[in-house]
Amino acid sequence: QEQFVPVLSYRVGPYAAGGSGFFGGAIDYMNLVNASGGINGVKLTWEECETEYNASRGVECYERLKSKNGGASLVEPLATGIAYGILDRVATDKIPMTTLGYGRSDAANGKVFPYVFPLITSYWNQAAAMVKYLGDKSGGMDKLKGKKIVHLYHDSAFGKEPMPVLDAQAAQYGFELIKIPVAHPGNEQQSQWLQIRQAKPDYVILWGWGVMNAVAIKTAQRNGFPREKILGVWWAGSEEDTIPAGDAAKGYTTMTFNTPGNYPVLDEIRKKVYEAGKGNLDDKTRIGSVYHMRGVTAGILWTEAIRKAQEKYGKGKVMTGEQIRWGFENLNVDEARQKALGVLGMFPPVKTSCDDHEGSGAVKVQQWNGTKWVAITPNWVVGDKALTRKLLEESSAKYAAEKNIKPACASGA
């Protein structure tokens, strides 16, 4: 009895470092689950397919693996392009897709996107939380008035995603928002940072991806801009972003949906997986790194969804995609459950519903101390969720209209 998970990973190309960390984490956790007897006795199996972060190859991988070994339980491509490429397909094939911290923010509306789960938090909630954090940091939201915030973004759909939120909040709190795009891939940012130096902003929001992040930090340093004032998006907040920047990254802060640190589950992975020679990372020091931890988190949420589904449809049985979808929609990983799993505080409590495929929306802020990340907000930060909810409803309604979808909660299978 085996539950099959296709792994659409990328381990070559420009994003290989992140891909190997994330998928390594997810596989490590699945190994750990198997080492502890599986999910109520059901073992997990998986097969990897190299997508190269490329939409067309990702679709091929998805199609190749989706009906293998009794059918795919779920997919997680960790690539926006691939996620879009298979968005329609997962609904037809009835395979839930998770998009942890990326993808369409409005997919949190389960009435329109029954099979898509942007778990934990979406870009919009992140942006709202950023503003919240900056407000708190300035000593209260009212202190934001008259402040200057630069939104330095990757010039693509990804970088523009938070703009509706930021614009609304700028109007609400009266700060000045300066938007500066960086052309892909962003390996030269002298002109942007000169502009920033000129504008003398109070904060810079760094909405970057890939090499752009390290270069931004480096260029900030060479232009004498303090890194403490830079607040990166979570895709700009991994070791892969700070290590290349070297000393320049010290003091740099970013958002994250994992609290950095060590957790019992990581120790278990070290012991039961790596010592058994089944570890997925070549370099053991990367255990517990940001991407790895994100992968572990994904693994946890996947297994929890399967577990949940088993509770409803029969313990110890292999679940179908449709049943797991229900599991994802009824997740409840609260602190008690986290404690049981040995991950208390590693990510915010997640509770999903048909209306809310995201399940949380809370984030933390972390800072690079020169060697590792440390959380600098003791509690989870949540921004203006009413605002993001409104945007989400509008946007998903538009999608539904375009695609002729009648918004409705999927009935349990």
């Binding site: 070559v12 009906s67 490429g85 968005l87 923010s105 693509s156 946007s395």
Partner: protein, 352 residues
């Protein structure tokens, strides 16, 4: 062997200028087409349709377009993906904004928009050639993608900048199964391949090749380089535009402008070089090679049970090495290899 043309005499020029003058070839192609249209839909798996056959056909069409420009008219271009993007986004907007427009018409209009863009960006080719032109066509690539991300109208103000292709419905029949999408794509590709072949064997095609082989001489003979080159750009972009629309509608379903990145342009260029520059058959062979090889390698690497990161990197290396190997064996591409094989067959059992 049965591959002989002996005894087949052409009594009219019409017969002699057929697309396939040798009877065995005609039979072969007819069988292949019958197979593709009638048998494949019955036996292929959904995976084969939506992950291999459809992308193969679409890439082949785009490669055909690029081959018209690069292979026949001799203008090296790295902007293929941009033209595809124009086709896709234009088709999307036509369907969105012109109620009731037939999908095929929208595809054609999308292609025409791409052709218009092609003409504009083809203008420099009148002065610039070779790798200089290739590097300059990168301007098209970056500029078009930039425009599509910057001007929100093109993506209907979608917050993510991603368009969702509408359903393909023709005369009330909606193409939503992989098999039906495959047949639609196959139909379009076949028609366009025949049109391309016709152009190549008549005066337009000769004008392109003349300009490619020696533009000064072509001018002396009375071809006008400007018209010829721009026509090549237009036709090629049209093909790419239609391919781009199919890429969005029949393959991915949703696309963001970045899906039409430089990477895609290069992939299509690889296809024509591996397949055969200046050969219609080559476009298909090259597309098959570039689509299938990584998949095979990937499956093969898994079968070997190598650690995944090693496997992925080895795949890449083997892919690169195979490209080089094929070029060394036959610099003129798979199509030429095929032709040589046929010539050998004709002489068989004698070596020459």
């Amino acid at each position: 062997m049965f591959y002989r043309e002996a005894g087949q005499f052409k009594t009219t020029y019409q017969a002699d200028s057929q697309i396939l003058p040798i009877r065995q070839d005609r039979i072969g192609i007819a069988t292949l087409l019958a197979f593709a249209f009638l048998v494949v839909p019955l036996i292929a798996s959904p995976y084969a349709f939506s992950a291999i056959l459809i992308p193969f056909l679409i890439f082949a069409l785009a490669a055909l377009g690029l081959n018209i420009l690069t292979g026949y008219a001799g203008q090296l271009s790295l902007g293929t993906a941009a033209f595809m993007a124009v086709g896709a986004f234009a088709a999307y907007n036509f369907i969105l904004r012109v109620p009731g427009i037939p999908v095929l018409v929208a595809f054609i209009l999308g292609g025409l928009c791409a052709a218009a863009v092609g003409i504009v960006f083809g203008l420099p080719s009148l002065r610039i050639r070779g790798f200089y032109l290739a590097a300059a066509t990168l301007a098209t690539q970056f500029f078009v993608v930039w425009c599509l991300t910057k001007i929100r109208w093109f993506t209907n103000y979608s917050s993510s900048g991603v368009i969702t292709a509408q359903k393909i419905t023709i005369f009330g029949y909606s193409f939503d199964t992989p098999a039906s999408k495959y047949l639609l794509t196959l139909g379009i590709v076949c028609v366009m391949a025949v049109l391309a072949k016709n152009m190549i064997r008549s005066n337009v095609g000769r004008s392109w090749m003349a300009v490619r082989d020696m533009d000064v001489a072509a001018e002396v003979i009375g071809f006008r380089p400007m018209r010829t080159k721009l026509l090549a750009f237009a036709v090629s972009s049209f093909y790419c535009g239609v391919a781009g629309a199919l890429y969005a509608y029949a393959y991915l379903g949703t696309v963001e402008p970045e899906a039409y990145s430089l990477d895609l342009s290069f992939r299509i260029l690889f296809m024509i070089i591996i397949g055969g520059v200046g050969s219609i058959l080559g476009s298909f062979l090259g597309a098959a090679f570039i689509v299938l090889l990584p998949i095979w390698l990937n499956m093969f690497a898994h079968a070997l049970g190598l650690p995944t990161s090693v496997a992925s990197n080895l795949e890449l290396m083997v892919f690169g090495a195979l490209i080089i190997f094929f070029l060394i064996v036959e610099p003129h591409g798979l199509a030429r290899l095929w032709q040589i094989a046929k010539e050998k067959l004709r002489l068989w059992p004698f070596p020459y």
